[in-house]
Subunit: 204 residues, 2 copies
């Protein structure tokens, strides 16, 4: 009683879309082949036809999520401000974007902790986080060069690591306790901590 046939690539996409829906709803633990099949309105066996195993499905989903997740700081609209302010601005933009993407962030964290035990997942996550860090290097590099005497022993890489680590910490908080996470207070505090001069800015 097989149903309608559909070109392979298209079905794969449908299944991945269904998997994404299931995973953002029920998290990785709820991502069973049967749940995905049901979500896609398709038989269980078909999932294995297209992805060979559950692991294949999970990895394909991870790839898709990483592909469609923008993990590079937005440097647009930074105009003539100082490099440090530009860096701060990028961090703030990333943090501000977290709450509205809570589902996706939660899923990414699921993958992250899965990577702790699963080598393939770990590799991919590490690469994504590495890319994210690298994307910050131009910003941190410029910031350091603008006031080199202020950052003894600080490399663009280490500063990028701290910056992205900070964002990742915020991501954890957003997922865990979104109501408590007070974005404006966080950003105000961050600015005050980092800026030397008396801050003559208005919150964006």
């Amino acid at each position: 009683m097989p149903g309608p046939r559909i070109p392979e690539d298209q079905r794969r996409d449908e299944l991945l879309a269904a998997a994404y829906r299931v995973a953002t709803r029920d998290r990785l633990g709820g991502l069973t082949t049967r749940a995905v099949a049901k979500e896609a309105g398709v038989s269980n066996g078909l999932v294995f036809f297209h992805f060979t195993s559950r692991e294949g499905l999970v990895l394909a989903l991870l790839d898709r999520v990483l592909e469609t997740t923008v993990l590079s700081p937005d440097t647009a609209g930074s105009d003539a401000r100082s490099p440090v302010l530009q860096l701060l601005h990028a961090i703030e933009q990333d943090i501000e974007g977290l709450p509205e993407n809570r589902d996706r962030v939660a899923l990414l964290i699921d993958f992250w902790v899965m990577g702790t035990q699963h080598a393939d997942v770990r590799t991919r996550i590490q690469k994504a986080l590495g890319d994210y860090r690298e994307a910050y290097v131009p910003l941190t590099s410029a910031a350091i060069e603008s006031e080199p005497e202020r950052y003894p022993g600080v490399t663009p890489e280490s500063l990028a690591a701290v910056a992205t680590g900070f964002v990742e910490g915020c991501a954890l908080q957003v997922v865990m306790d979104p109501d408590r996470f007070d974005v404006p207070a966080y950003l105000t505090t961050l600015r005050a901590l980092v800026l030397r001069e008396a801050p003559g800015y208005a919150l964006a």
Copy 2:
């Protein structure tokens, strides 16, 4: 064929210890009642006798882990240094303590993400994190009072949230990629970022 009898409290402790061993080895996903029973050299049914359900076991384990995890900053040996340096010192101590407790940190993060979906776990984790944050408030409070003009709009609570959030972000990194996580570089960068004066310190 029942085996030797043991007072109830003692058995509970034995089972919890076994559960902790299993959970640090195989993580929460590997924490099955059978695995715990086997680890404790005991029958599967006994786990249910003492904990009623797997959920009971997990919650009891969480309570024990939280009880025996020191989540308050160590303010000893801070002598005559400035409040800001004391705060920095506390953060650094917490971060330095992460790598050697990787197993435990990984387990706590497992509980953390479990809390995303499980209300009882969430409550406990939120309380623990809240306590952790509060424990920082005296330090952040003193730091702000020492240079109030430098921290416009920053409350002791918001600064504590940022500080602990920073540590939590580091915890994620340590669990994920312990080799890449460069503690000294992180701390150097943090100091340079936060300190106004030229840093005349030696790394502890």
